[in-house]
């Protein structure tokens, strides 16, 4: 029994081949056009040709004014198939724009080059390609999301990635939010992805379309980026004013509970606990992220624990009730 369940766990842990739809890429990328002029774009977790990321950037090469497009096909040599992880030697593609004047990327214009290894984004070959790049855009395997982001930060690269909003609660990812090194893009919420044929059916968030293609969806997909956007500088309009009755102080933290982002009081100077979805509206000119309940638990924010409190600090508690995950923020410019 135990053996069996660990087997399923191992199997499901590997199920992160989710292929992004072109329209989801278009809906997000239309907001970043100006960032791509003269840039080298690298798709480092990809299955080119069938990948809509490759499609988007190759077909928009001239429109965006790209310098070069590079894509690695992880464990795959057959660029027309989704990666079946059937080879330990992979290839990568390079595209430098339309040469024959037919205005579309043709097979002869896309260079296919062999890699010695399997195209893992952590391999030295991939790192060499990364060094050439200005912006990495991809939907990395969910199981490797942390490592993927960490690598981009280490190499000081710009990026635009699809992930799950759960990633916000990972300690290292959250720290990047706090340090203003990463933020949410425009779209978040429901997103549908094509999945390989061999993926087993599931009870929820799974369907097969008329053409027999299998789909799965995420309810909390979102884009993570460090490209600046106008959205990130839009002030959230605040219309509530603070009252202790409406915004009670937690039992254990020196902060008030704000159950909905829109309800943040305009005139409160102290620390406020808000839901994680706050980050999709976060404007660093308006608020400062003080930390998270995780960080209080880890002893990183001792000053936030209420004096004399000896109980739990793993989450915020209100009248003895354990709250959902909270991010702790403060109004910018509030007197300390």
């Amino acid at each position: 029994m135990a053996k069996n369940s660990s087997l399923t766990a191992a199997k499901s842990a590997k199920e992160d081949e989710f292929y992004t739809q072109l329209s989801d890429i278009e809906k997000e990328l239309k907001h970043y056009r100006s960032h791509f002029e003269g840039k080298v774009v690298y798709l480092n977790c990809d299955d080119p040709r069938v990948s809509n990321f490759f499609h988007y950037f190759s077909y928009n090469f001239e429109k965006l004014g790209l310098k070069k497009l590079i894509a690695t096909c992880y464990k795959s040599q057959d660029i027309d198939l989704f990666s079946e992880h059937n080879t330990e030697q992979a290839v990568y593609l390079e595209y430098e724009g339309d040469k024959d004047g037919d205005l579309v990327p043709g097979p002869n214009e896309i260079g296919i080059k062999p890699l010695k290894g399997d195209g893992d984004f952590r391999s030295s070959e991939s790192i060499e390609l990364l060094k050439q790049a200005d912006i990495v855009v991809t939907n990395p395997p969910f199981s490797l999301f942390r490592e993927h982001v960490a690598q981009l930060i280490d190499h000081n690269k710009k990026f635009l990635l699809i992930g799950s909003q759960n990633a916000i609660t990972y300690k290292d990812v959250f720290r990047l939010f706090k340090e203003d090194k990463l933020w949410q893009g425009y779209n978040s919420g429901d997103m549908a992805f094509q999945v390989p044929d061999h993926y087993p059916p599931r009870e929820t968030r799974f369907w097969v379309d008329e053409s027999g293609t299998k789909w799965r969806s995420l309810g909390n997909a979102c884009w993570f980026t460090n490209l600046d956007t106008p959205k990130r500088h839009e002030d959230l309009i605040l219309y509530k004013s603070y009252s202790p009755a409406e915004f009670p102080t937690y039992d254990n933290y020196d902060a008030i509970e704000v159950g909905r982002t829109e309800h943040i009081p305009a005139d409160y100077d102290g620390v406020m606990g808000v839901p994680i979805t706050f980050l999709s509206r976060y404007n660093p000119d308006q608020f400062e992220i003080v930390g998270s309940d995780h960080e209080v638990k880890d002893g990183l924010l001792p000053w936030l624990v209420r004096e004399g409190w000896t109980g739990k600090v793993d989450r915020a508690y209100l009248n003895g009730k354990r709250m959902y995950a909270r991010i702790l923020i403060r109004r910018k410019g509030a007197p300390a």
Binding site: L22, S23, E26, K30, H55, Y59, N60, E62, K63, D102, L103, V104, L236, I237, L238, Y239, K240, E262
Partner: protein, 368 residues
């Protein structure tokens, strides 16, 4: 002046020139002269299939349905937008976005098309009816051809035909996401500002349900202060009359209550005590109605629970089938249940307080 409807041809090249999408601040095209989506109007989104069907039509050179543009009769100085899309907004946005290469059709973006293909798209002619004339006639015409419900809500249509400084100012206060009216009143209002539901509701309150004549009368006003002051007064009155907030208060016809009861001086502590009682009373099935009831005294707002079959039967058995008013015997189905102590005097909907009266006596009692 009569209304005129003038058919004209507009090419995709002309339509998409100067196309700019400023998100909430609006979308313009046709060399800046066409308001495709006015500021603070909800954003329509065609799904991918509908959008693709429009582009497919252009490629095949099939005709698209006629579109209607209103010619604005009141264009402020410095504003280039002299036309407004009344019908065809989604098709127009689909076309403009495609030509701007925002999305691909059958894998290719507009800039990937061969020159002859893109020329064909740009040369495609749309049929547009330009409608000019007095707003009331335009409105009547648009209502007849039934644009409302399809693309525009009635209030959006009213905003379009009465476009001018008043509408612009009113939208700033009542129709933006996070607008002042929302900030002040969202706890008491249902609906969304961007769908023009706040604006519509408040005009209805102010003008006894007649939105159109209010807008016609104020079409040329420089600002919407009158409506804003009114709304502030309504919310202030609600706050002082019912200082304790309950979720039940959201979406009640506050303006109507304000209009009718603002002159009376209410003891808010007493009102609160009665409401607290009513919302806990199991006989009250419409808890929201408590607010209307304490002001108007009309029981109908409470939707008081009817006696259950068991309660009726218990009373019938107790009376041995005899109507206590006329003393005659009746079958159960010839009698109706009645509160012995009336509900408003504290009588409850319970077996002890139930009596069965013959139909006629019950009617007579009700009529008193």
């Amino acid at each position: 002046m009569k209304m005129t409807i003038q058919p004209t041809k507009v090419t995709v090249r002309e339509l998409t020139s100067g196309y700019q999408d400023h998100a909430e601040a609006g979308v313009v095209g046709y060399g800046g002269k066409l308001d495709i989506r006015p500021p603070y109007q909800r954003e329509f989104v065609y799904d991918d299939k509908q959008r693709d069907a429009v582009i497919d039509t252009l490629f095949k050179d099939y005709p698209l349905n006629v579109m209607y543009w209103a010619v604005r009769d009141d264009v402020p100085e410095g504003d280039e937008r002299i036309y407004e899309v009344m019908d065809g907004q989604q098709r127009t946005i689909s076309i403009c976005q495609y030509v701007d290469s925002v999305f691909a059709f059958e894998g290719r973006y507009f800039h990937n098309l061969q020159p002859d293909e893109s020329a064909r798209i740009l040369d495609y002619e749309l049929t547009v009816y330009l409608c000019s004339g007095p707003p009331s006639e335009k409105l009547a015409w648009f209502r007849t051809i039934n644009i409302a419900g399809e693309e525009l809500t009635d209030q959006e249509m009213l905003n379009a035909v009465y476009a001018g400084p008043w509408v612009s100012e009113a939208k700033k206060i009542f129709s933006k996401n996070g607008c002042p009216a929302y900030g002040l009143g969202s706890a008491y209002m249902k609906g969304s500002p961007i769908r023009q539901q706040y604006l519509e509701t408040v005009i209805k309150w102010f003008n006894d349900g007649d939105v159109e004549s209010y807008m016609a009368a104020h079409h040329h006003d420089p600002n919407a202060n009158e409506l804003w002051l009114y709304f502030q007064a309504v919310i202030a009155w609600v706050n002082s009359t019912f200082p304790k907030y309950r979720g039940l208060m959201k979406g009640l016809p506050w303006g109507v209550l304000y209009n009718q009861y603002k002159g009376t001086s209410w003891d808010s502590a007493k009102l609160e005590a009665r409401i607290a009682d009513l919302v806990q009373n199991d006989d009250v099935t419409n808890k929201k109605g408590a607010y209307l009831y304490v002001l108007s005294g009309q029981e109908k707002h409470l939707n008081i629970r009817a006696f259950s079959p068991a309660e009726r039967l218990a009373a019938y058995e107790r009376q041995a089938g005899v109507c206590p008013v006329c003393g005659e015997h009746y079958e159960l189905n010839e009698m109706e249940a009645d509160h012995i102590t009336p509900w408003r005097e504290g009588g409850r909907t319970s077996a002890e307080n139930c009596q069965m009266l013959c139909v006629e006596d019950n009617r007579r009692k009700g009529a008193r």
